[in-house]
């Protein structure tokens, strides 16, 4: 319940960001008025940071970015992971072997180095093309890359579930009444594999949010996106003189990632029939 409450809280903050934030996220008027790194006050409840941004507003506007990263990356990862894992588990044989080796190949790739390199390359390639007009193209790239490299665990769980479920009696029954392979997979096996998948996806969302924060913290984030990782990057060196600017985004990351991890834990318990008994 706590996990769900935290996530609902983050989602509400993200959706209502324009209503909740006291300032525009790009408002640097504090800097222009000699008020950067100001301690928390009534005017700025979380203080201002080195760049003169209102920390509370940036933290609030960071929520939609975090959710977009978490949900977007896991959407991409889930689609790839479920398709590859499902086919691998259901078809079996040589296809299974090949697809699992392919999955393992992705597991050993140093994801961060690839992301940093691709973000840099992509930033150069899109210059002067139609792709450049896509808002937050850098952030989108990070989301897609996190998804492209985040699917192997999902594929392995999906495969394991499909291997188990395809031997079950209800699947046999479906075959006997003449259900097509597509129906068996989509309407019988997949829904029954969902409990395990939802858990790993929930964990993955938290991981993706953390990963984006790390990419931004390394200075490779989207300069135009409001991201908690970037907030940390710009303020960690002022930790001793303006701790509020680092603590607030850190807490936001902590709450969100904790929420998704607790949710995954809760879902795992909820779907466990032994615990129900």
């Amino acid at each position: 319940m706590l996990g769900l409450s935290l996530i609902v809280f983050v989602v509400v903050v993200a959706v209502a960001a324009p209503l909740l934030a006291p300032y525009d996220p790009n408002d640097q008027s504090a800097m222009l008025n000699f008020g950067a790194r100001a301690a928390p006050s009534l005017l700025h409840p979380f203080g201002t940071d080195r760049m003169g941004f209102d920390v509370l507003s940036r933290v609030i506007y960071g929520a939609p970015t975090a959710l977009a990263v978490g949900l977007g990356a896991m959407l991409v990862a889930s689609v790839i992971g479920v398709v590859i894992g499902g086919l691998s588990g259901y078809i079996g044989g040589l296809s299974d072997e090949l697809m699992m080796r392919f999955t393992e190949f992705f597991l050993v790739i140093p994801v961060f180095i690839v992301i940093l390199a691709v973000v840099r390359l992509f930033g150069i390639i899109v210059v002067g093309t139609w792709a450049e007009r896509i808002p937050h193209i850098n952030l989108m790239t990070i989301i897609v890359l996190l998804g492209l490299f985040g699917w192997p665990p999902i594929a392995r769980i999906t495969r394991a579930e499909f291997l188990r479920l395809k031997q079950m009696e209800f699947v046999e029954a479906a075959r006997c009444i003449g259900a097509t392979r597509r129906d068996i997979v989509v309407r019988h096996i997949l829904p029954n594999a969902m409990p395990s998948l939802v858990v790993i996806i929930a964990i993955g969302i938290g991981g993706a949010i953390l990963a984006e924060a790390m990419v931004s913290f390394l200075g490779f984030g989207d300069p135009k996106a409001v991201s908690w990782g970037q907030l940390l990057y710009f303020n960690y060196e002022s930790l001793k003189v303006a701790p509020w600017a680092s603590i607030a985004p850190s807490m936001a990351i902590f709450i969100t990632v904790l929420g998704f991890n607790l949710l995954a834990d809760g879902l795992s318990d909820a779907f466990n029939p032994r615990l129900k008994q």
């Binding site: 000699f34 950067a36 080195r50 003169g52 939609p64 970015t65 977009a68 808002p135 710009f234």
Partner: protein
């Protein structure tokens, strides 16, 4: 199939809601930006990233679509050097930020802003190509009369102030924290004139055999003096080499003999006879002679070596026929015309390289050679038939290079016990270590791992966190400036041909470009940047001239007002309508 229909409807609803609410954060964009500007912000220093982001945002408030990106300087350097003035989408650049300075204490703006110094042979990466600037620099550089020189440099400053080829944001004061037990730390670092100078350091309580470490933020690209333009590099190679003339200390900035003992100059400033110091030995044990000076100048003048100083050397000497050896320790120079660069830059700022050690290294091999990388060893044949194995550059300086440890990001030095000058310090082993981050460097200082650091760390805002028990704070006039520079071949803010005014009247294109740059300049909140980001350590910027230099015309150079209305007025003058 009611279930499928419901699912589809559900997905449609979720999709529409997501779009309506905006899953991704939105940024307000000008309805129709006047033009696009790509700004590269070096990602190696958070403070600069902050004012870079602020600068980008301020320019965007004028209706410009500023696309900023955080990039390492290794991305910027090739774009500006080989871009041939191309814009960013064409593989060149539009705008970026940097901290810059002249390569000598006496300002030599012609090296950076003369139209004769375009890359790759020169350092006018910005393509400043203004006849009035050229004329003033020519007059400044070629006048023997000090007053005429001062008038010329003031004309340069005035012209710059009027057309703002780049936006000078501020003049930083260098803030450096050192080990309180360290005595003799009297200078900031400055390429290539001032280095850590550890031969003068005395560390209390360490007897006669002290070990010391100096932190430098960025790792070097080159360690052969003629290839280096950053003080992240001169911090390392500087203590190894000597120059013909050197500066006594940062406070007096007085020139004293180095490898040259004295010189004579003819009345017209063209004929020079330089007497070199005798008895000086290279670290290899070989004698220093006039051949080494000639070899250094020949090598830099040789285009095959692609030194960024080549254009400036050509401006001074014309050809290699301008100088000749007239004795083992004497060199005679006949300049095509008098130039201030010879005495105030070439002789005081350029290190002398060893002929016997470097002459056999081919141009295409030099950048990858251990003399430049300090990785591995190489053997040098000496005139007495013996050999010397070097682990880095070979100089005549107070410190011998003993190689690089890439895993520890450290460069090691041993004191040159046969140095030609007596030095007071007790440090016998010295390290330059690469540490990234202001917080990290202060932690290293607190832990006793380093004794001092270079000013790149911008620790101004963290001074209040330094306890006197582990850190003593020094502050120096830096002789540097922070700027936003523009590619002056850009069709809008460079040549102006694509501005509305430039299109309407091509003869006024340059004027229109200047209006755009003036608009950018007035959009910069310089005082706020100094106070809020640099913690008050600096002065608002106007022109590329050290704020404390005698050449800075304080009477004429009034602070540039932060005034968005005025900035928009300038944009309007360039033909843009709001």
């Amino acid at each position: 199939m009611p279930i499928k229909q419901n699912r589809r409807n559900f997905l449609k609803t979720v999709g529409a809601t997501s779009v309506a609410l905006g899953v991704l954060p939105h940024q307000a964009q000008a309805a129709s930006p006047f033009f696009k500007l790509y700004m590269m912000i070096p990602n190696n220093q958070p403070a600069r990233m902050i004012w870079g982001t602020l600068a980008a945002q301020q320019i965007s408030k004028l209706g410009v679509d500023v696309i900023s990106s955080f990039v390492p300087f290794t991305v910027i350097a090739p774009r500006r050097t080989t871009g041939q003035g191309k814009t960013y989408p064409e593989g060149g650049w539009d705008a970026y930020l940097e901290r810059y300075y002249y390569n000598s204490i006496t300002p030599v703006p012609s090296n950076l802003f003369s139209s004769k110094a375009f890359p790759p042979a020169g350092q006018n990466f910005y393509y400043v190509d203004d006849p009035q600037i050229d004329k003033s620099l020519e007059d400044y550089g070629s006048s023997l009369d000090a007053k005429a020189r001062m008038d010329a440099i003031h004309r340069f400053e005035k012209r710059w102030y009027d057309i703002q080829p780049m936006t000078i944001l501020f003049y930083p004061r260098d803030v450096i924290a050192v080990n309180p037990k360290l005595k003799g730390f009297t200078a900031t670092t400055f390429n290539p004139v001032f280095f850590p100078d550890p031969e003068n350091w005395e560390i209390e309580g360490q007897g006669d055999n002290a070990t010391s470490a100096f932190a430098s933020w960025a790792p070097p690209s080159n360690l052969i003096p003629m290839y280096t333009i950053g003080y992240n590099e001169s911090n390392i190679f500087g203590p190894v080499y000597n120059r013909l003339y050197e500066y006594e200390n940062w406070e007096t900035k007085k020139v004293v003999p180095g490898l040259a003992l004295s010189h004579t100059m003819s009345a017209d400033g063209k004929h020079w006879v330089i007497k070199l110091r005798e008895g000086v030995k290279w670290h290899s044990g070989e004698d220093f002679t006039a051949k080494d000076v000639k070899f250094t100048w020949d090598t830099i003048m040789n285009k095959a070596y692609a030194s960024p100083f080549q254009a400036a050397f050509v401006e001074v000497f014309g050809t290699t026929d301008a100088y000749k050896i007239t004795g083992p320790h004497e060199i005679t120079v006949d300049l095509p015309k008098f130039t201030i660069l010879f005495e105030n830059w070439l002789m005081t700022a350029m290190q002398v390289m060893p002929e016997h050690a470097y002459k056999d290294i081919k141009p295409e091999q030099l950048r990858g050679h251990p003399a430049n990388t300090w990785l591995g060893t190489y053997t040098v044949k000496l005139s007495n038939g013996k050999t010397y194995t070097a682990r880095g550059g070979i100089g005549t300086g107070p410190w011998k290079a003993t190689g690089q440890d890439p895993t520890r990001k450290a460069y090691k030095f041993e004191k040159n016990e046969h140095y030609w000058k007596k030095t007071p310090g007790n440090v016998k082993t010295f390290f330059v270590v690469n540490i990234s981050g202001s917080d990290s460097v202060l932690s290293a200082l607190k832990a006793g791992e380093i004794d001092a650091h270079d000013p790149m760390y911008d620790i101004g805002s963290l001074v209040s966190t330094i306890d006197p028990s582990w850190g003593k704070v020094h502050s120096f006039d830096s002789y540097k400036w922070q700027h936003v520079c523009y590619n002056l071949k850009h069709p809008v803010f460079g040549t102006g041909v694509d501005t509305p005014l430039g299109k309407k009247d091509p003869s006024r294109a340059a004027e229109a470009a200047a209006y755009v740059r003036l608009a950018f300049s007035h959009a910069m909140p310089r005082e706020q940047i100094v106070k809020e980001i640099a913690a008050g350590y600096g002065e608002p910027g106007t022109v590329p001239m050290p704020y404390t230099a005698p050449e800075y015309d304080h009477e004429m150079l009034k602070p540039i007002a932060y005034d968005m209305d005025l900035a928009r007025e300038y944009m309007t003058k360039a033909g843009y309508t709001y």
